[in-house]
């Protein structure tokens, strides 16, 4: 029997991988993908919460699933904007390496 704990563990592992990607990788495209991974880790936990929270009428709690739809929508928008920015950046600087982008540095 797969319990809620198992789902949460997977979710946590995914989130950690995503976080590590954001923190450690230098390529902006990979960082963007890692962000997506973290969002999906969160979605997984939300869906699991929904599945394991059954109301008096025998149906799962749909609130969490609605939440997930919102997250997917926002993630799509985010990817669209993020990739557009990335393309613009690449055109301007011919690089996607965060180490080369230091204009804000004092």
């Amino acid at each position: 029997m797969i319990t809620l704990g198992d789902y949460l563990v997977v979710s946590a592992i995914l989130f950690t991988i995503g976080l590590a990607g954001v923190m450690l990788r230098r390529n902006l495209i990979v960082i963007l993908m890692s962000l997506e991974l973290m969002l999906n880790a969160a979605n997984l936990s939300l869906v699991a919460f929904s599945r394991f929270r059954v109301g008096a009428n025998g149906l799962p709690d749909y609130n969490a699933q609605v939440f997930v739809f919102f997250v997917i929508t926002v993630a799509a928008a985010e990817v669209a904007v993020g990739l557009a920015l990335l393309v613009a950046l690449y055109r301007a600087r011919q690089t996607t390496d965060v180490g080369d982008i230091t204009t804000l540095k004092f």
């Binding site: 976080l19 954001v22 923190m23 450690l24 960082i31 965060v98 180490g99 982008i101 230091t102 204009t103 804000l104 540095k105 004092f106």
Partner: protein, 597 residues
């Protein structure tokens, strides 16, 4: 109806001043008439209430904050104030009449008489005030009218400066006076004399406090009565018209300080320290002013310094706890000093405003009435028996002899100096040969000026005799040793003798003492003091402006912002992941504080 006479005394001059200022400034003769009528009404009412021992005036409420503060408009009608009212309005009336002659060609005659009426109102207000607040208000009003009258010829720089000097110098004393009044109100909860007096024993053990209060109140008298060290304004005040000098700066206003001290003697006499200080201030003033007077050339300045010296005697008497002697001298002094000033005015106006005694000479033939009356005043001033000054000065010296031998010795020395400089003035002005064309052409003044002189001369002559003065004053007990008057007469004869020997037939000053000619350099010292105080304050202000406001507030906020920015920009490392890390940390911290705490 009788009970309104005291109010009428006060209000007649006020009405006159108001009417003249508002309506009759253009009609000069009418203004004179109104002013003189008002002062005569005051004088008649003063005489009427003087005769009635049991008069009471209605009291009006004014500032009434029930439990803590009450200032009524009430009048004190004891023997002291009734005598003083007769004196002030009587001398005032004579001087109003004299002014008709002295100021007859003056353009600002209406303004002059309005100010004179206002002065009478203020001075009588001081005399009758029954509480400290009223006293203080009239006190300031007197200072203001004095300012207006000294500066009557305001187009002359010297007069305008003298008016400012008089006003500002007396303000210094008045500040102390006001502080003293506030302290009395704080401790006794009342400003009415009759209520404060019984509460004075409350102070019992607090001798220092009482001394401070008494000396602060004395400060007011120091300013107004021109005592050392605030005496510098009085000689300069002689820039005003001579009748003003006679009325305000010799007979009445400067005596107001002494009158006030006598009025509040119940406070001063509680503290021995205060009495001692008062006595010594009086003594120092008397000696110092007499010393300066010996070397002055301006007839009005000599008289001004003699006024200072005589006021010193009065303050000395107050300090020796003898109010009777102080008031007695005030009483006789008012007559003979007003007389001397008016006689000097008669000389000055006949010599076309020449005031230098070395430009006079031989005037006894040209101005016989002036000479006779001036002589009577001078003899009274030096205390020659049987003129009035002899009795009152003798009373003060006798008291001094009983209490303090050193003050007595200095008083005697002052008597010697007084005789010296008065006889010097008399010899130079009236004897010898005329030393200028103006002196050769002089004529006697018109009767409107000589009549007040004659009346005052009679009063100055008989004013000291007990049979006359007893009607007005409680005379001091004559129990002094016989040799006190004897010593005084010897001092007088020696002083007069030296002066005659030194100055007879001289045309220029034979002895020049720069220290005395320059009035002990008081004016120079004060201007130096003010200059350096101002310089010091300016430097402190500049320091505060430059280093605290400019460098601290303005520069500090700019440099502070810059410094904080310098620290904060270290966070901007330019590494995207570091930002993300800090951002994450911030989110974690927010969640921690928002949810878990």
């Amino acid at each position: 109806m009788n009970s309104f006479y005291p109010w009428l005394i006060l209000l007649a001059p006020l009405a006159s001043a108001t009417v003249i200022t508002l309506f009759t400034l253009r009609w000069k003769s009418l203004s004179c008439a109104i002013s003189i009528t008002a002062v005569l009404v005051s004088f008649c009412c003063s005489c009427l209430i003087f005769a009635q021992t049991a008069t009471a005036a209605p009291e009006f409420g004014w500032l009434d904050v029930p439990p803590i503060f009450r200032v009524p408009l009430g009048l004190t009608l004891d023997r002291l104030s009734r005598t003083m009212a007769v004196l002030v309005s009587g001398v005032g009336a004579l001087i109003h009449i004299y002014s008709l002659g002295y100021m007859r060609d003056d353009q600002g005659k209406s303004r002059y008489f309005a100010a004179l009426s206002l002065f009478m109102f203020a001075m009588l207000g001081i005399v009758f005030a029954n509480n400290f607040v009223m006293l203080f208000i009239f006190w300031e009003l007197v200072g203001f009218t004095s300012y207006v009258l000294i500066g009557h010829w305001f187009f002359r720089d010297a007069a305008a400066d003298a008016a400012n000097k008089a006003f500002i110098t007396t303000r210094i004393g008045d500040f102390g006076f006001m502080t003293g009044i506030l302290m009395i109100w704080m401790t006794t909860g009342s400003v009415v004399f009759a209520e404060v007096a019984p509460r004075i024993p409350m102070f019992g053990g607090h001798t220092t406090f009482v001394a401070i209060v008494a000396l602060l109140i004395f400060c007011g008298a120091v300013g107004k009565s021109a005592q050392f060290p605030l005496h510098v304004w009085l000689p300069d005040a002689m820039e005003g018209p001579t009748p003003v000098s006679a009325l305000i700066h010799a007979a009445t206003m400067v005596a107001a300080g002494v009158y006030m001290l006598v009025r509040v003697a119940f406070i001063i006499q509680v503290s021995h320290t205060a009495l001692l200080v008062v006595a010594w201030i009086g003594t120092i003033t008397a000696v110092m002013a007499a010393l300066i007077a010996t070397q002055q050339d301006d007839i009005k300045r000599i008289l001004a310094y003699s006024t200072l010296s005589q006021l010193g005697y009065m303050v000395m008497a107050v300090g020796l706890a003898s109010n009777e002697a102080a008031m007695f001298h005030l009483f006789t002094h008012a007559f003979f000093k007003a007389l001397l000033f008016l006689a000097a005015g008669s000389i000055i106006v006949m010599l076309h405003h020449e005031q230098n005694i070395w430009k006079m000479g031989g005037l006894r033939r040209k101005l016989p009435i002036t000479f006779a009356t001036f002589g009577a005043g001078a003899l009274a001033l030096i205390g020659c028996p049987p003129f009035s000054g002899f009795f009152s000065k003798d009373a003060i010296l006798a008291i001094a002899y009983e209490h303090n031998p050193l003050i007595f010795a200095l008083g005697l020395f002052t008597a010697f100096l007084t005789a010296f400089y008065v006889i010097r003035m008399l010899v130079i002005v009236f004897f010898g040969n005329p030393r200028s064309d103006r002196a050769r052409e002089g004529r006697e003044s018109p009767p409107v000026m000589t009549m007040p002189l004659i009346v005052l001369a009679i009063l100055a002559t008989i004013g000291g005799f007990a049979f006359f003065a007893r009607n007005f004053l409680a005379l001091p007990n004559e129990k002094g040793a016989v040799f006190v008057p004897a010593l005084a007469i010897i001092a007088l004869i020696v002083g007069a003798g030296v002066a005659i020997a030194l100055y007879r037939g001289r045309a220029t000053e034979p002895v020049q003492i720069e220290l005395l000619r320059n009035k002990f350099y008081f004016d120079e010292f004060y201007s130096w003091l003010i200059h350096w105080t101002q310089e010091l304050l300016a430097r402190v202000a500049a320091f505060i402006d430059r280093w605290i406001i400019d460098a601290g507030a303005v520069g500090g906020s700019s440099r502070g912002t810059w410094g904080i920015g310098a620290v904060l920009r270290l966070i901007q490392v330019g590494n995207l992941q570091a930002y993300a890390f800090l951002f994450g940390l911030g989110v974690v911290a927010l969640i921690y504080f928002a949810v878990l705490r």
